[in-house]
Amino acid sequence: MAEDMSIESYLAAGGVLTNPSNVPPRYRAELMKLMTTFVDSELAGAAGFADIINAGPGIKERIAAAKIVLEKTDNADRVLKIMGEFGVDGNRYANHHPWTARLERDADIGASRTEQDMRLAVFNYPLAGWADAVVMNLLMGRAVAVQMAEFSMVSYQPLAEAFRAIAPIEARHAELAEEGLQKLLETEDKATLQASVDYWWPRVAASFGSATSAKAESLKGMGLRKTANADLKARWGAETKAVLENLGMTAG
């Protein structure tokens, strides 16, 4: 039997890896980065949302926000468990950083990460009240849906499976946000809500990364990416624009 295929050519041919002992060095580093980015973003997102639960105008809204906090934390845990198989101490990891920490609302950090964690830049901005949180959750929820569809195809099977399980849960969060925004539009000033859209739109858009990523090709070769950042961003932009226009608002 021909057993002399290198892991690199196996991956380039669309092969999948299934446990830490298979994983070549560069792949491992990129996979760990992908996982820490997801975990840090979920933990930071959940922590930011936790603070907003009590700002919910009614009990239904507070239940929805609490559910989102619970499920995002749970989703972080699923991926943290996979990191655990690489030797990461999940308990220590989950507590090693103040996930509620935020920068100023007008901080200009582009797509850069802070030095202490791998959360997407967008999660470094603070929420300005309930309505702002709903808008952020809608825009980011749609972005997560696009990213989950992409990452459900990663070549590390345990992570692909985790993302396939996480995708519908995250999709529901975006639906809750859409319902929430619809309700807010009945009572709140539309200009204020539009201002939140305008604030979050470029920041969420930046979370797709730069259009010219030097790493894109090598990530593709490893099966960790399939679609270019720019294409994912365009898909998100088109889908989210349609949702907003349906609600009588405009994209940022």
Partner: protein, 358 residues
Amino acid sequence: MARFHDLEVTDIQKTIRDAVVVTLKPVNGAAEAFDFTQGQYLTFRQDFDGDELRRSYSICAGKDDGILQVGIKRVDGGTFSTWANEDLKIGDTVQAMPPMGGFFTALDAGNEKNYLGFAGGSGITPVLSILKTTLAAEPNSTFTLVYANKGVNTIMFREELEDLKNTYMGRFNVIHILETDAQEIDLFTGLVTEDKCAQLFATGWIDIGSVDTAFICGPEPMMLGIAAALRTGGLTDAQIKFELFASSQPGRAKRKAVSKNAASGANQASATITLDGSTQAIEMPKDTTILDAALDNKMDAPFACKAGVCSTCRCRVLEGEVEMVSNHALEDYEVEKGYVLSCQSYPVTDNVVVDFDQ
């Protein structure tokens, strides 16, 4: 973080000339930690002349067998597998982490599913665990195994599979594909390639349209070919489960060539290492990594790959200078701040102060 536990070797059976089935019993109350799911694997560690090797092997026992068993086939030049096949004895104690891996689907007694398994050589171990457990747990499900081997005498668990065919008459079927030994049916000779699978589907040996889930465990080219055929046959990625154990496992830190005799005087360094809130001052040779020095001094320093890639062993250099020979995990800004991978870092100055807690 997963920890290593002691396991007693209670039985060793040769299944073919160069493969053993090792039965293990957790000791010191660790039995609960080893309550596995079918298809999972154990990661062992063993010291060879001062070098720790870690190797993963799939559990081959079914859930209902009530025992913990792994199959270990000897790989040419494989230190661990040769040791397991030639030196391991009943009564020995080995160390392993609790079962890991997701090479399984949830079972339900009410399921009426058709499972298809592909195994190449020793790739049979997790598939055997899955099929035994599934056939016992789901009385209305079927399992077809396509099992690739070089020849008749290299088929692991051949008799056990025959017994299972009799026990689960009509629900369990095995198709042996042999690379070199001719069989009555030409289709069953050769390699399990994409073409071979397509022929098995086209000739009715396998009803691909009725398959709910497929499991594949074997070498890389075989996995690619089978997966391609399954996708062509209409299965989605979510219906195809893979398990791959490549023989080329990640490399190890290369030590700088320094004579053992020179490990004194100019070659000695003093290291102050902080870990989990406590600080220890040690003397260490400069041809030893910070991580190994910490481990040698009974400090429970975190590490996983020892290859400079996972960043689990990251620590920060507060004083002195170290040389990091390989770095695949830390970003430039982290290095600028003094972070190093301790498994790749050797002292350069006579004094170094490092902190694992920062």
